[in-house]
Amino acid sequence: MNTALSPAASAQADAFTLTLDGAEVSAYPGETLWQVAKRAGETIPHLCFKDAPGYRPDGNCRACMVEVEGERTLAASCLREAKPGMVVKSATSERARISREGVMELLIADQPDRDDSPDRSSHFWAMADQLAIDATAVKERLPSREARSEPTVHHVVAREGSLTHDTTHSAMNVNLDACIECNLCVRACREVQVNDVIGLANRGAASKIVFDFDDPMGDSTCVACGECVQACPTGALMPATLIDEQGHGDSKVADKTVDSVCPYCGVGCQLTYHVKNDEILFVEGRDGPSNQNRLCVKGRFGFDYPRHPSRLTVPLIRREGVPKGIDPDFDPAKPLSHFREASWDEALDLAAKGLVDLKKAHGPDALAGFGSAKCSNEEAWLFQKLVRTGFGSNHVDHCTRLCHASSVAALMECIGSGAVTASFMQAQEADVVILTGCNPTVNHPVAATFFKQAAKRGTKLIIIDPRGQAMGAYAHKALRFTPGSDVSLFNAMLNVIVTEELYNQEYIDAHTEGFEALKAHVRDLTPEAMAESCGVSAEAIREVAREYAKADKAMIFWGMGISQHTHGTDNARCLISLALACGHTGRPGTGLHPLRGQNNVQGASDAGLIPMVMPDYQPVSDAQVRSAFEELWNTKLDDKPGLTVVEIMEAIHDGTIRGMYIQGENPAMSDPDLSHARAALAKLEHLVVQDLFVTETAQFADVILPASAWPEKDGTVTNTNRQVQMGRQAMPLPGDAKPDWWIIQEVAKRFGLPWNYQHPRDVFAEMTRGMPSLDHISWERLEREDSVTYPCPADDAPGADVVFSDAFPTASGRAKFSPTLPLPPDEPIDADYPTVLTTGRQLEHWHTGSMTRRARVLDDLEPEAVASLAPSELRRLGVQPGDPLTITTRRGEITLRTRADSLMPEGMVFVPFCYAEAAANILTNPALDPFGKIPEFKYAACRLSKAAAREAVSP
């Protein structure tokens, strides 16, 4: 694959010269003539070549021809490698000019007129302009093909429903009249995103870009990443939002573009908002360090939620006498049935007074706050500061508790740092990559594209997960073990590494402690002893352990399949032990990487939205830490660690916590055992919710404060790779909605705090004083560079992609092995509840769906709750795919439609947790991991039964 961005330093050393249009220019080994010309300041016309990382030149359009001295024919500059001493003529070659023009003229003859074209500002027309071609004259002179040719071949079946003008997809339009068969979309889909949907079918005059078997795009297996649309040089593939009813469009109608970051997952793709009249028209990927121009369906097409009709634009106060709770008749777009509008002053006074009064009457422990991993670093900082200095306790947490708290607990314990040791881009350097408890094509789609590319280039992917997944097609091996037996499996792998002496003694001696104890500990946990409970053969366990251990460079990635268990911390400890035993950290292509779920999980945790630690994971119980922050904030701090998410819910039931401030979180959907959690919210004497919509949680609020959506604010976020990235405001706030930092500050003032921030940059400046991790990262630098990885050694140096090469940030500088014992899930299946329920996300929806279900395209693609089961499981239940099913656990039941999914194991059902009408978390088990305090979302015992059709939940 070609990732030739800027030539590597070594290549630069081998620079040579050649002659271009009479001038001597420098070139680097491996560069093409096109690239050499570009650096020399000339953009040679090009159609089938895209000057972007990941795109291989194909050399099929011949628009980029140049003359090379001594050669009879012209050469395609996009493909021809530069060689020392070459004498090349481009701008000065008459032959090249005629050839380029000829190509363009022939293509123009078959193009729709520019004014009828799906993109009048396409790259194609820009090239025609560059060559100063008069399209009208060309069309008069050259005959044009009346219609697309019928297939002249007889061996291919004519496809029913085959389209050349395809509007069947809600996000993208296809108009093959403009298609020049440059093949860029095929490379985009097949080689860049590795989705394998688009092909070039048939041959000769009938050749055609097709989706799967020439299916309508909307019916194809397309996952709507939109890479093909971004790659298409003609507008044959276009974002639907840019095409009018006549099929005409213009990609340059925006009146401004704003560079920002995707608001959804932890990959942190950089993007550009194209904005017209203060509305986002469409989104394009940018060349960020974690996405190289790529986006997934959410980032590219899920941008319109801020303007959804149910968006909050005025502060709301609960009407007198209206009970708190989820009222099935409540319509979030018409909240005035339950709430009344209020001015900011009234709403803020009331919001703060309720909390202040409770504190006065019952002490600081009566209050708690949930911040949000969806908000910026600055907002997270302010929120925890408000709780710590205003509420006066450490009862501040956020939903990281529900996703990677156990991973962080294990990482902090064993290696002294909760962040990833290497970015996911390092997978491309690795020989072996273990993916366990994660499903990146769904949850980290752009990271998945890099994994798939790595696998295609020879990296061995080993997938360890009970569920099958799309990535399985690229897997070298897959271990589909019995749900809940993870610790047994990993210990068996450690046993193999110990007994077969595959460990790296040198690394262990230099960098770790406690290996002898681990050795003794795993002695009896042989693959043979563990095989039965794991449901995989001892030999398979041995092979995987050997391949990981023997690899020169290996990485482990994990997700919530590891962390969301009552043994989540133990799971992560095992993975850390595997890496330490084999010396697979601290070098390029090695490392431990818990894939972060939300756009700012990493940043919100770093900024201190955690009850037991101050910003940068500095323990609140440490007097030195406290005194540093007491000095920074000029106030006294509580020395007691606070309560975590689920514990706070318990404390409400106990009557200790009486008032809460919840910013941008939705525990009434995201907490386990929702009935219990919702009862807690209803019991609160005072609840302030700050959000974009009347979420399920806001339906329990006394006061609702209308806040800012991501594209409406400036702020930084930190992605899974430790990259701190700049988000910029692209559109104004609607109505009376306010930036979150402003709202938090107003509440703080009413707690008597002397805050006076004018802009998030002021907050960031304060953060850099309390967070050593932000050394050498300033707001100005982020404005300039968009992204800086921490830790960063100097103001002008890039941050470290791989960390802990020399020492770990622990007291001894060594990492620690932490032995674990296999534990069963908290609620094993039994005769009454014989099926395993597991929960998670879908590609199109994110977290509790409050944003994505209000994004038109995403809602259109996945509009209703579905339970996925193995086809054989459905047959056993006598349920047809699409028919409703009732799922019952000890805590409640939901009814929803079914989907046959051949990747599901038997005996298991998967339910996404984003659908309020069939909320998966009604069912889940709130039992907690003792260290990370994370609930067991990935395993609950349930019972399935066929539901009568009328019970089916309507979309």
């Binding site: 071949v153 007889h154 061996h155 291919v156 079946v157 095929v186 889909c189 097949r190 995103q193 590795v194 989705n195 394998d196 949907v197 688009i198 092909g199 070039l200 079918a201 048939n202 041959r203 097709v210 989706f211 799967d212 078997f213 297996t221 397309c222 996952v223 094509t441 769904v442 798939k452 799309a470 990535m471 097609a473 690229y474 590609l843 086809p871 046959a900 999914d901 051949s902 990747l903």
Partner: protein, 169 residues
């Protein structure tokens, strides 16, 4: 391969690769560094058994080779001797290239067409013959030439057509 790919596989036409064919395809794949290179052979292997290549086989071949169905489809629809629709028990390929064209291709095609009652790309009602044009068979010295299944004939006179076809029940 993407998140939805399994849907394509599961709503295919229930095609299952014959175990012998599967082995043969895997054997071919082992010859090459790039799985793509085994694509044509894989298609031929399937066509040898089934006479043509149904959608389900494309998905199955893609899975076996670890590449996308769209890529296999691109290859299958490019080569005119890979049939992506059902053909008769016997396939007649008439050469329509220049040498044969000069020495009576037209008359031969007419004779075949009217004898069988079908045109190019069609199959007789009894599923016995499919008629297709083909590029030069390398039998130019004996034009007009044609092939029936694996047998090449030429020169073939219009009046010999009926007798010739007798051999292909």
């Amino acid at each position: 391969m993407n998140e939805n790919a399994h849907l394509l596989a599961s709503d295919g036409d229930g095609f299952i690769l014959d175990p012998e064919d599967l082995r043969a395809i895997e054997h071919e794949r082992a010859h090459y560094e790039q799985p793509q290179a085994a694509c044509i052979e894989a298609l031929k292997i399937v066509q040898r058994r089934h006479g043509w290549v149904p959608d389900g086989a494309i998905v199955a071949i893609a899975e076996t080779l670890g590449i996308g169905p769209a890529e296999v489809e691109g290859v299958a629809t490019f080569y005119s001797l890979i049939f992506r629709q059902p053909v008769g028990r016997h396939v007649i390929l008439i050469c329509d290239s220049s040498s044969c064209f000069l020495v009576g291709y037209d008359t031969l095609r007419e004779a075949l067409s009217s004898h069988l009652g079908i045109g190019f790309g069609q199959t007789t009602a009894d599923d016995r013959f499919t008629l297709l044009p083909v590029c030069c068979l390398g039998a130019c010295d004996g034009g007009p030439a044609l092939m029936i299944d694996d047998d090449t004939y030429g020169p073939v006179a219009a009046e010999d057509v009926a007798a010739l076809l007798e051999d292909y029940p």
